[in-house]
Structures are given as structure tokens and as C-alpha cells.
């Protein structure tokens, strides 16, 4: 008995390790990164420690200036000053050049009193805001990325305030992502339900053919499918050509259907459609044809029989399909990146931007975590309302 159990655990060990390394660990490190940012505290430990004594009003005492000058000098020698400048600039714009200039200036500068020398090199050191920024970013554990992820930030007095107008983009982006995902889910449902019904209740040969037609795109590379939409939808593309050919639109007014929200909607609906059809099909296949016959023999017309008998029994499939498509859509990255243009970008594209381009991994991690929690909440809500155990994924 116990031996068998141990054996089973041993067998599951490689998988457990695999999940740990490829899933739990990255997730955990991402979560860490969204809260824990030791950069400033590592580069300027003594200054940060000294600033903790400071009351945050006016300018810090000479002793703090001296520590800051020494540590900035060392950072320049160790070539970490660039990172420091970037990090500070993210908190208060303008600090990048201030820090870099100070680094260069320190070489030629005189000695104490540093509370005069530093502001002489760069005026920023005469501003209380600079020291407040240093104190803020010096905290190793910081909620600032989460604040940023929902368009908040720390004000100059240390309180939480909204981001300046032009930097408030993430809340709107989250809402837009959810709205787009919902739209895609509904589109998939509207297209997928009749298709799944046909596959489930056609004669075997037709049903097999339809199923293959659904699966072939599923097996085709995502990139190919997405780019083929560009061929179809672009201004000189097939759809526009046809519309012009049939005189539905004048040649000079060709529709813009790609590299905008339309492109994202069309391509993503297409890409995610199998994820709606397959769970629906697997549930519908389990509903015997005799159910509809029974309902009709009892006096219900076809629409009534469908609504009262078929639809309720297919709901587990609807729930599973919608949940699957919605969750996939909300985190989808490649399709909007390829065909979404400016207006068709979703939250995941911004996460990718912060990871790859702006290198603001803290913010990327925070955005990712917010998305993760949102999906988790949705999952729990679904479980509450419909019950996960009733869901059938095929």
C-alpha cells in the first residue's frame, strides 16, 4: 500500500519538478518583482539609511549630502549609475539627466560642504522633491508598481495621488481589454454554437468533415493564420477588392480593416473559435437526439423544444467555452501585436513592451499580477455561479 503510494509520488516527481521550474518559479519571481525593488537601496545603502531619519521636509542635513556624494561617485566608478538614473527618472521625470550629470560633475568638483557642492553641480539637489524621490525609491518593498498599474502614484507629499492626465493609460486599457475580450467571446459563441450543433447532430460523414474543418486551422501555425488575415483585410486585400468589384464601396474609400481594432477582433475571433467549438461540441454530443424528439412529441414546437430542453443542457459547454475563450483573449499577445496596429493593442502588449523595450519589469510584473488576479476572480465567480465541476472541456 505505502509502497504503491511512494511509487506513485516518485512517478509524479518529474512533472512536479517541471511545473515548479516552468510555472510556479516564474510566477513567483514575477510576483516578487512587482513588490520588491532593491536597486536604489543596493546602490546607495547609506544615503537611503540616513534618509530614513530625515523628516521629509525641506532639505536633508549636510551629513546626508556627504553620503550621497560618496555613493554617487562609487556608482559612477562601478558603472551602476545609469540604472540608478533610470530608476529615479521613472519616479520623477528629469532625474535621469540630473543624476548622470552629477556623476560626471563629481570628478571635477571640489570637496565639502557637499550641501553646496552638489546643488552647484546640478540644481536638482537643491530641491526637496529630489531627496523625497530618493527616500521613496530607497524602500526595498514598494507598492508603487501596483499604484502605477492602476494609474496612481505617490505625490510630492508622500500621499497617493492620481497619475498626471497624460500618463493615465492602464485603467482604461484594462477596461478596454475586458471589453474586447467579452466581444470576442460573444462573437465566438454566436458563430461557434451553430457550428458545434451542426457537428454534433449531422450524419457521421458530414460531422467528421466539419470537425476536420474546425481542427485544421487549429493545427496551423498561429502566425500563418494571423498573417493570412492581413492578406484578406488590408486595403489592397481580397475583401476590399471584392467590395470594390461589386461596387459596394468606391475604390478611393477602401475600408481600413487591419492594424486597428477591427483587425484584432476579426483575427482573434477566428483564432479562438476552436476553443469555443470543441467544448460545446463535446457537451452537445452528449445530448441525445431523442431529447428534442421527446420535447416535440410532448407538444413543443422546435424553437420551444430547443429553448427549454436543448439550450439548458448545452449550458455547461457554453460556460466552458466562454470561460476558455475569455481567459485566452484577455491575455492574448501575438495577434493584437501583428494586426492590432495602434488602437488594437491590449494589456498584454503593454506588458510585453515593458519587459522588452522600456525594461520596467516591476511595472510589467504588477500589470501581469493584476491581470492574473482578475482572471482568478472570474474563475471563482464562475465556480460560484455555475460550478466548475459542471464544466466540460471535452
Amino acid at each position: 500500500m505505502a509502497k504503491a503510494r511512494t511509487g506513485a509520488i516518485m512517478l509524479a516527481l518529474p512533472l512536479t519538478a517541471f511545473i515548479l521550474v516552468t510555472f510556479i518559479a516564474p510566477l513567483g519571481s514575477m510576483f516578487m518583482r512587482s513588490l520588491y525593488d532593491p536597486l536604489v537601496a543596493d546602490i546607495m545603502p547609506e544615503t537611503v539609511a540616513a534618509l530614513e531619519e530625515w523628516d521629509g521636509t525641506g532639505l536633508p542635513p549636510e551629513q546626508v549630502y556627504a553620503l550621497a556624494a560618496r555613493e554617487l561617485e562609487r556608482a559612477r566608478e562601478e558603472k551602476t549609475i545609469g540604472k540608478l538614473a533610470t530608476r529615479l527618472n521613472r519616479d520623477t521625470s528629469g532625474l535621469r539627466s540630473a543624476v548622470m550629470r552629477t556623476g560626471r560633475g563629481l570628478k571635477r568638483a571640489g570637496g565639502p560642504p557637499w550641501s553646496e557642492t552638489l546643488p552647484a553641480i546640478n540644481a536638482a539637489w537643491g530641491e526637496p522633491a529630489t531627496w523625497q524621490a530618493l527616500a521613496r525609491t530607497g524602500a526595498r518593498v514598494t507598492p508603487v508598481y501596483y499604484l502605477n498599474a492602476v494609474d496612481l502614484t505617490f505625490g510630492s507629499d508622500g500621499g497617493i495621488v492620481r497619475q498626471p492626465e497624460e500618463r493615465r493609460i492602464y485603467t482604461a486599457l484594462f477596461i478596454k481589454t475586458i471589453r474586447v475580450s467579452l466581444t470576442i467571446t460573444l462573437l465566438c459563441l454566436a458563430i461557434g454554437y451553430p457550428v458545434a450543433y451542426l457537428i454534433a447532430h449531422s450524419p457521421p460523414r458530414l460531422s467528421r468533415l466539419l470537425l476536420v474543418l474546425v481542427l485544421v486551422p487549429f493545427w496551423t501555425s498561429l502566425l500563418v493564420r494571423t498573417t493570412s488575415w492581413i492578406v484578406l483585410l488590408q486595403q489592397q486585400g481580397v475583401v476590399n477588392d471584392l467590395l470594390v468589384r461589386f461596387g459596394l464601396i468606391p475604390d478611393e474609400q477602401r475600408l481600413t480593416m487591419i492594424h486597428n481594432m477591427t483587425g484584432t477582433l476579426v483575427a482573434m475571433t477566428h483564432v479562438l473559435l476552436p476553443f469555443m467549438i470543441l467544448p460545446l461540441y463535446s457537451v452537445m454530443r452528449g445530448i441525445p437526439a431523442v431529447q428534442m424528439q421527446a420535447a416535440m412529441s410532448l407538444g413543443a414546437s422546435w424553437p420551444r423544444a430547443f429553448y427549454r430542453v436543448y439550450l439548458p443542457q448545452s449550458l455547461p459547454g457554453v460556460g466552458a467555452g466562454c470561460l476558455l475563450v475569455f481567459i485566452l483573449a484577455i491575455g492574448y499577445y501575438i495577434t493584437p501585436a501583428l494586426v492590432g496596429g495602434q488602437s488594437g493593442q491590449l494589456i498584454s502588449n503593454f506588458i510585453a513592451y515593458h519587459i522588452q523595450t522600456s525594461l520596467n519589469w516591476g511595472l510589467a510584473a504588477a500589470l501581469g499580477c493584476v491581470l492574473f488576479v482578475a482572471v482568478l476572480l472570474l474563475f471563482l465567480l464562475y465556480d460560484r455561479v455555475l460550478g466548475l465541476d459542471r464544466m466540460k472541456l471535452g
Binding site: P288, Q291, A294, A295, L298, G299, A300, A305, V309, Q313
Partner: protein, 367 residues
């Protein structure tokens, strides 16, 4: 107007059905059912019984022929306009509704008032003794209870005609027998017309006023259970209903009342049922219980020597397997009465039967 009792309430006239356009699942099917009658379609698997019910219920359209219901042709009538109660093989209860909701469904579809529905549902539950189960889901009922619900649901809207497709197929034997009597009682009490499908001949015998035996999409014979057993018109029916000994032979002499058939060099006197003077071959059928053991030769025109192969004690009767007329495994059933003991395998006995119990049917192999 159309309610007099002589006129056929349900009528199939030369109905054929092919699903694929090549093979026929039902061929030239003609059948009339009177109001209040209990008619069973009996036949082996794949003989087209369900297809007939589906056409009558409106789920399938006949490829040719016409179905009449209460004097009106119904080929073009939608299933939900036919007012036929159907009990399906696997019940087809709606799993997402409670028992009460299942029963209310046909009434709601007919837009009957709420309190009226409630009363009808309770009455129907009463009828099948399931009052306490109104709030349960079908999955939480036993097979027999689900069966009862299915029957109640088919009856609750008071249809004129009820179709049942092997409704007892999934039940164990005891329950099946119990339900057979319940169904028969209900049908007689409510005086509805019933068309019932089964491949169990015993069930067909117990329940029906008349039985239509089907084979490969065609009707072989329609008759009362008794007539089917006593006077099968076709070899298929003779074999399908009850047990029969089957002996092939060559006709040597034929008259309308009696024919002489040569079997293994001996002459058997038989009653010609499905053979005429032009036929040269026939298949004789003799019921095992109509064979007499060591009979008085004057009374039995057919008497032959036989060798006992095997004796099986069945309780109320003895089952003897014997070899005679060149056939082995000829079955004889002897009532377990004092005086018939003492026969052993290997003994030679005389077996005899009457001319009328030896029916000359179709199917003799031409050589």
C-alpha cells in the same frame, strides 16, 4: 365524426422508408389499429420497429405511402401537432428538470393555466405512485421509477394515442413483469390506443390485443397472440414465437386439407398452411408440447421411432431431445406427471403427433 369504433384510428398504408435511398428499413408496411386497441410490433433487432414509430410520431417522413391518424393523413403534420404520447427506449426524461417539471412540460406547451397544470401533474404522479418524488431530478430515481415517470409524462396531456418503444428493455426481469401488468392496466383503465414495440415475444403475448411480427422491414403476420402461436402462417413467425421443431421434406401428395411429405424415407402427414400443389418442398413445424410419447397409434396418424439423446428435468416438465426422421435434437416436452419416469438416454421410444399440429410452411430448401 370519425369516432366510430370500426374505423381505423391509426392506419399505415403501404409505407416504405429508406434512410440512404438504397436499402429499405421499412417496406410496404400496412397496418390498421382500432381505437382503444393495444397493438405490438414484434421483431428482431433492426427489423424496422422503431422506424415505424418514428414515422408515426413525425420524427421521420415516409419515403412513400401514407400514414393516417384519426381519418386524416399526417405525413405533412409537424410532430408537435400530432398529440401522440411517446415513451422512449431510454425514457428521454429531461435531466435538467425535476419530475414535476418534466410532467408539466407538455401542459405548459399547450398553454394550460398554472393551477390546472399543478392538479394534472399531481394526478399523473398519483397514477404511477410517485407522489413523493415530484421535486427530484430524474438522475436520482431508479430505473423503474424513471420508467413510470416517462409513462406518466406521455399520459399527462391525455393523448389519444400512445407509442412505446421497448420501454422495459433496461429493467430487470422481475420489474419488467410488474411493469407489464401496470402498463396493461393503465391502458385498459384510460382506454387509450397503444402501439408498443418490443423484441421480447413473451412481453408481446402478455400485453397485446394483436401482435404484428416484423422481419427485415416487412410485416410477416398480424394476429392475436393466440393465433400467432397456434396458427403461424410463415416459418419466421413459427420460429420467432415460442419453440418449434423444424423438419424439412419433399411434398409427395397435396390436397387442401392434408399433404404427405417425405422425410428421410418416411412419410409424414401434415396440414398445408403455406404450401400449394405446385410446391415441392416444405418445412414442417411441430410444437414440442404437442408431441406425444409412446401414444396409441390409432389416434396419432404420425408415429415414428425415435432414439432418446438427452433428458433434462425442468421442474414442471421434462425436456427430451431425440433423434428421429434423420433429425437430431428433436424436442419433446412432457408434463411431469407420474408414469413418465424411467426413460433413459439411448432408449428407443415412439413419438406421435396429429396432422393439424404438424404445419407445412414455406422455406423448404429446393434441391
Amino acid at each position: 365524426m370519425a369516432d366510430n369504433n370500426n374505423h381505423a384510428f391509426v392506419k399505415f398504408s403501404e409505407v416504405s422508408k429508406s434512410y440512404d435511398g438504397r436499402t429499405f428499413s421499412v417496406m410496404d408496411f400496412s397496418l390498421s389499429v382500432k381505437r382503444g386497441e393495444f397493438v405490438t410490433l414484434l421483431g428482431p433487432s433492426g427489423s424496422g420497429k422503431t422506424t415505424c414509430l418514428k414515422m408515426l410520431a413525425g420524427f421521420e417522413e415516409p419515403s412513400s405511402g401514407e400514414i393516417w391518424l384519426n381519418g386524416r393523413p399526417v405525413n405533412q403534420v409537424k410532430p408537435w401537432k400530432r398529440n401522440i404520447g411517446v415513451v422512449f427506449q431510454h425514457y428521454a426524461l429531461f435531466p435538467h428538470m425535476t419530475i414535476a417539471e418534466n410532467l408539466a412540460f407538455p401542459l405548459q406547451a399547450r398553454r394550460i393555466a398554472g393551477n390546472e397544470i399543478e392538479r394534472s401533474v399531481m394526478r399523473a404522479l398519483d397514477m404511477v405512485q410517485l407522489q413523493d418524488f415530484a421535486g427530484r431530478r430524474p438522475a436520482h430515481l431508479s430505473g423503474g421509477q424513471q420508467q413510470r415517470v416517462a409513462i406518466a409524462r406521455a399520459l399527462v396531456f391525455e393523448p389519444d394515442l400512445i407509442l412505446m418503444d421497448e420501454p422495459l428493455g433496461a429493467l430487470d426481469r422481475r420489474l419488467r413483469e410488474e411493469m407489464q401488468y401496470e402498463i396493461r392496466n393503465l391502458q385498459q383503465r384510460l382506454d387509450v390506443t397503444m402501439i408498443y414495440v418490443t423484441h421480447d415475444q413473451g412481453e408481446a403475448m402478455v400485453l397485446s390485443d394483436r401482435v404484428a411480427v416484423m422481419d427485415q422491414g416487412r410485416i410477416c403476420q398480424v394476429a392475436s397472440p393466440e393465433a400467432l402461436y397456434e396458427e403461424p402462417q410463415r416459418l419466421f413467425v413459427a420460429n420467432f414465437i415460442g419453440e418449434n421443431n423444424q423438419v424439412e421434406g419433399r411434398i409427395v401428395e397435396w390436397s387442401p386439407d392434408e399433404c404427405r411429405v417425405e422425410v428421410a424415407g418416411q412419410t409424414v402427414r401434415a396440414f398445408p398452411v403455406a404450401v400449394n400443389e405446385n410446391d415441392s418442398h416444405t418445412c414442417l413445424t411441430i410444437r414440442p408440447e404437442r408431441v406425444a410419447l409412446n401414444p396409441t397409434p390409432d389416434l396419432y396418424p404420425n408415429c415414428f421411432e425415435a432414439e432418446v439423446e438427452d433428458i433434462i428435468f425442468m421442474g414442471d416438465y421434462l425436456r427430451i431431445h431425440a433423434a428421429l426422421l434423420g433429425h437430431s435434437q428433436f424436442i419433446v416436452k412432457i408434463p411431469n406427471i407420474i408414469g413418465h419416469g424411467g426413460i433413459l438416454p439411448g432408449d428407443t421410444v415412439t413419438l406421435g403427433w396429429l396432422v393439424t399440429d404438424c404445419r407445412a410452411l414455406d422455406g423448404g430448401r429446393a434441391e
